[in-house]
């Protein structure tokens, strides 16, 4: 079955006023951290100040004497003896990625395995300030223990065993089962290539830096607990919280107001910053019979959880002078922590990015993951940073090696599972899908918008009057069209004909309220203004899949379409029971619904407004006091796709949609500074739902990607293993001054996986962008720098080596 193709949209593809715009602009939008309930207590947990250390002795007497301290819960407190938290491993999604090993994590251990691990003691007080003051008054005698920062060091035989008891699961105690994938005969292909060379690659450990810090407020309503949380997974948090508290899940309600930046990191429910602080707030609230807010300050947020892990490795490339890539061999070492998701697998390290997008026939990938003394993490736009980076670097390397235009190298190597692009689109044709060459279209659009042909030049060949080197860069990959997991969407028809989209809420800032309302209006056939998505808490009967996340628009659009079809049928059924002359002798299939009016397809001018039908959905039930109650039509449907990106009727399909990006930079040879003067993002989103929002996601993602390419990284003191820059003064994210112009172009191939072929945008741009800076800098200065971030010192050293 093919996707339902449609391009005569009434509501999709238009810009509407953001439904969340007024609240967010005025500042009246409420976030979890804004919620402080009356008579609330505050709780703060200690973090380990060393890379690996054990508490020998703790003295809390001074803290106890501080006015306003209500309770101190120590690691040796009998109230929490043997208390465990749910582990990373028994989360269904994690189990899908790794192995389903049951293991619970100590709630408040006396040993910390990384700088920033939550442990030791919890201070409960009347204010946040008192918590901080009392925490500073806690005196601890530490026993410092061996640690290891580099994943390659961690898997050596003489490395300190960092996670005792894990030997059955982790090879030598530190190494996580990595992965190896291969296709074709790499060694043979290297021999047959015109050139074979190896490049080092590195990506830094970065932080999510969501604007709103992780905070949770809990309040008990009898035997039930209400949780106000900054989380991307309210339903999962209710699952974990129930398990940790020994409750049934139906006793936990997780309310997520607006969220101040989630980006996937706040989907890390199994981390202490989600389930741990929720448990603390709930436990304290219960014991003291007062609401409790558990908070984490920015420094502790930086130290207790990273997002992208540190990776270094090398890529061996074999290619011909015409730019044809014969073989790629990738070896990565990636750093992980216990209690974090192991980001390993074919997609994460690059193998999938080659097989999904290229005709390269010989690929080998080795990914070595090891536990180190760096904090655990989930991901931040997105888990495939490393994989996409490796594809980008290979394209760039081949182009520069042979003096080719990188856009030509991309088109030459575009394909699917070792086959060329014709093979790819023949598959599309067989399934009745559009066959437009997405990459070619994106490149043509981007080159024109950017002025590529007039700006591209040989490496290091253009020096500007201001003394800086000029460079341009290009990058490409597939567009994001993941569609994992199950979502359930409810649609409720109100008495006035308006419709509510029903489902849990976790606003990610992607304008989901507006976008999903547009999709629903289109699918149902009523005006956009008659649809709203106000969403519910974790007890909402319908569970949308991360509204706005990786799979948001693809999953939700299909779910909404299915529910809309049911709603239309229900409306038509009801309309036919009314014996209206407009529908005389009609059956359901004869009717249509458009712009809020129901009519016979054969007589479109004789129409009945949906409100006239909705008002009669149930007979008036006249109450004794004379008020009439009416019912509503409520329907729901579930979109289930077992894995990856699926056809509507099941099964997986290739990624047909692509994206590419163009950047222009100036590099100062004296200071090593990079000035980003222009960036053009071109993304095939399949179908544009909300144009401004799509563009916003594109350049927003670009800003995030540029940050991790040239300024963001954790700086460690390698002697002590502690983080030196856990704040926004020293950890540099992109600001208004870091670019000049940013533009986004949108392609519509109708082939990105969702309803009508729509797809996601935002996360993908952030993921692709880092590699583009290496490409542009090489074009500017003529030297390859593939270990990011590209800080000024690296530029200076590269220019020095060039001489």
């Amino acid at each position: 079955m093919a996707d339902e193709y449609k391009d005569d949209f009434l509501y999709v593809g238009k810009d509407y006023r953001r439904k969340d715009g007024p609240e967010k602009a005025m500042g009246t939008a409420i976030y979890a951290s804004d919620i402080t309930l009356p008579n609330s207590l505050f709780a703060k947990v200690m973090t380990c100040p060393w890379a690996h250390a054990k508490i020998k002795k703790m003295d809390t007497s001074k803290a106890e004497k501080i006015e306003g301290v209500v309770d101190i819960i120590r690691y040796d407190d009998p109230r929490i003896k043997d208390t465990k938290l749910m582990s990373s491993w028994n989360h269904p999604f994690t189990a899908y990625l790794t192995e389903n090993v049951e293991e619970l994590k100590d709630f408040l251990p006396s040993e910390g395995f990384y700088d920033g691990e939550e442990m030791g003691v919890i201070i409960v007080a009347e204010s946040e300030d008192i918590c901080e003051e009392a925490m500073n008054a806690v005196e601890v005698e530490w026993e410092q223990l061996p640690f290891v920062l580099d994943p390659e060091d961690s898997i050596k035989k003489d490395a300190p065993i960092y996670y005792p008891g894990r030997e059955t699961m982790i090879g030598n105690g530190n190494e996580i089962p990595g992965c190896e994938f291969s296709m074709g005969d790499v060694d043979k292909a290297f021999k047959e290539s015109d050139e074979v060379w190896t490049v080092p690659v590195a990506e830094p450990m970065i932080n999510w830096v969501g604007a709103e810090m992780p905070q949770v407020t809990c309040n008990w309503e009898g035997e039930d607990v209400v949780v106000y949380a900054h989380t991307q997974q309210p339903y999962d948090l209710s699952l974990y919280t129930a398990a940790n508290l020994g409750l049934k899940q139906c006793q936990v309600k997780v309310i997520t107001p607006y969220s101040g930046g989630t980006f996937g990191e706040r989907a890390f429910v199994q981390h202490f910053n989600d389930q741990g602080i929720t448990y603390i707030a709930a436990m304290v609230a219960k014991q003291h019979k007062r609401p409790c807010k558990c908070f984490i300050n920015r420094a502790d947020q930086f130290r207790s959880a990273r997002s992208q892990c540190y990776m270094h490795g090398e890529i061996k490339i074999g290619a011909n002078k015409n730019g044809k890539i014969n073989a790629v061999s990738i070896k990565n070492f990636t750093s992980h922590q216990r209690a974090g998701l192991w980001i390993t697998g074919s997609a994460y390290s690059g193998y999938d990015h080659f097989t999904d997008n290229t005709c390269v026939q010989n690929i080998k990938m080795e990914d070595h993951c090891a536990v180190t003394s760096q904090p655990p993490g989930w991901w931040f736009r997105c888990e495939q940073n490393i994989g996409s980076y490796n594809l980008g670097i290979v394209n760039s390397e081949v182009a520069h090696k042979f003096g080719l235009d990188p856009t030509d190298v991309a088109i030459l190597n575009n394909g699917y599972e070792g086959h060329d692009v014709d093979y790819l689109y023949n598959i599309a044709k067989e399934h009745g899908l559009p066959t437009r060459d997405s990459l070619k279209a994106c490149i043509e659009t981007g080159k024109k918008a950017f002025g590529w042909d007039s700006k591209f030049h040989a490496d290091g060949a253009k020096k500007l009057p201001n003394g800086r080197y000029h460079g341009v860069g290009f990058i490409w990959d597939h567009a994001w069209n993941d569609n994992v997991n199950t979502i359930t969407v409810g649609l409720s028809l109100n008495q006035d004909g308006s419709v509510n989209i029903l489902g849990q809420r976790d606003d990610l800032g992607t304008n989901d309220k507006t976008t999903y309302s547009q999709i629903a209006a289109e699918c149902i056939g009523i005006p956009y203004e008659m649809v709203n998505y106000r969403c519910g808490d974790s007890t909402a009967p319908f569970q949308l899949k991360n509204p706005g996340g990786s799979m948001g628009v693809i999953s939700q659009s299909r779910g909404i379409m299915r529910a809309a079809k049911k709603l239309r049928t229900a409306i038509f059924d009801k309309a036919l029971t009314l014996n209206l002359p407009e529908f005389k002798d009609a059956v359901v299939d004869d009717l249509d619904l458009k712009e809020g009016y129901v009519f016979k397809k054969s007589a479109p001018n004789a129409k009945v407004h949906i409100s006239d039908i909705a008002a009669t959905c149930l007979p008036y039930a006249t109450q004794p006091w004379g008020i009439s109650c009416k019912g509503v039509i409520m329907v729901y449907d579930t979109n289930v796709t077992k894995r990856k990106w699926g056809y509507p009727d099941g099964g997986t399909r290739p990624r047909f949609a692509r994206q590419c990006h163009f950047i222009e930079v100036e590099v100062d040879p004296d200071t090593g500074e990079i000035f980003m003067t222009n960036i053009n993002n071109v993304v095939d989103v399949g179908v544009v739902i909300s144009p401004k929002s799509c563009r916003g996601q594109a350049y927003g993602g670009a800003m995030q990607g540029l940050g991790r390419a040239y300024s963001e990284e954790y700086i460690y003191d390698k002697t002590y293993g502690v983080i030196l820059n856990p704040d926004l003064q020293e950890y540099k994210i992109v600001t208004m001054l870091d670019f000049e112009t940013a533009e986004a172009e949108l392609e519509e191939s109708h082939n990105a996986g969702g309803e009508w072929g729509c797809g996601g945008i935002g996360e993908d741009v952030a993921t692709l962008i880092p590699a583009i800076l290496s490409d542009a800098v090489r074009n500017a200065i003529g030297v390859s720098i593939t270990e990011q971030p590209i800080t000024p010192d690296k530029i200076i050293m590269a220019l020095k080596d060039k001489k």
Binding site: E23, K24, A211, G700, L728, I733, M736
Partner: protein, 232 residues
């Protein structure tokens, strides 16, 4: 129904715009970029807490006498009693000497538009106008705002609907958490300079961080707001 004092305290739009251009002086703490929103021609001389002279390029000289800037009154439990206005409404509050203006506004008084992103003066999300000048409320002692006039984004929004509409129309918000801070800084810029250049906008807003990366559209929105306000 509003009582007389409250009615008196609610500033007219015209009065807001006028006053916001006058810097009555405070020991403002903040990033260079935030301070730059006040303009490079501004000279502030603080003699004491109670007497301040200010010269801006738009306003000649304003001298505020002692009686209009009362010192905090220490109460029995060591807290300090202060009086001030927020969005044109008068408030009396007791604060701890160490309490920040952010805590006072967000936790005590419920002005939830005043956010905290970094807590250390590095992000601009907690920005408010203090006597017309953008300051970082997380780096300002609450005890220092006695007698002063504070505006938060929700108050500014009512007085400058053109700015709010331009922000909505250009979708300057994604998660929206940092947006109120941008509004405050942009408002300060527009009051000082009714027709700012792109570079001036960029410079003024450089101290406001946005992790969603909405930066490009803020420039457009401020230009549009300036145009809609006709250089007021």
């Amino acid at each position: 129904m509003k009582d007389k004092d409250e009615e008196k305290a609610v500033l007219s739009r015209r009065q807001f715009l006028k006053d916001a251009g006058i810097v009555l002086g405070t020991s403002a703490v903040g990033s260079a970029a935030l301070l730059s929103a006040c303009g490079t021609n501004e000279i502030t001389k603080t003699d004491t807490v109670t007497k301040t002279s200010t010269v801006t390029k738009n306003v000649t000289t304003t001298v505020v006498e002692k009686e209009t800037l009362p010192l905090p009154i220490e109460t029995e439990n060591g807290r300090l009693l202060i009086s001030f206005t927020v969005n044109g409404k008068k408030f009396d509050a007791t604060v701890e000497p160490r309490e920040t203006l952010h805590h006072l506004l967000h936790e005590q008084l419920g002005f939830k538009s005043v956010k905290t992103f970094c807590s250390r003066g590095g992000c601009g999300s907690c920005s408010v106008l203090l006597d017309g000048r953008p300051v970082l409320s997380c780096m300002t002692f609450a005890s220092s705002v006695g007698g002063k006039d504070i505006w938060t984004s929700d108050g500014i929004g009512k007085e400058m609907p053109e700015l709010i509409e331009a922000y909505i129309d250009n979708e300057c918000m994604q998660c929206g958490y940092c947006t109120p801070g941008f509004i405050v800084t942009a408002a300060a810029l527009l009051k000082r300079n009714g027709n700012p250049s792109t570079d001036e906008i960029r410079e003024a807003l450089a101290g406001n961080l946005c992790r969603c990366g909405t930066y490009p559209v803020h420039i457009k929105a401020v230009h549009e707001a300036a145009s809609a306000m006709g250089g007021k």
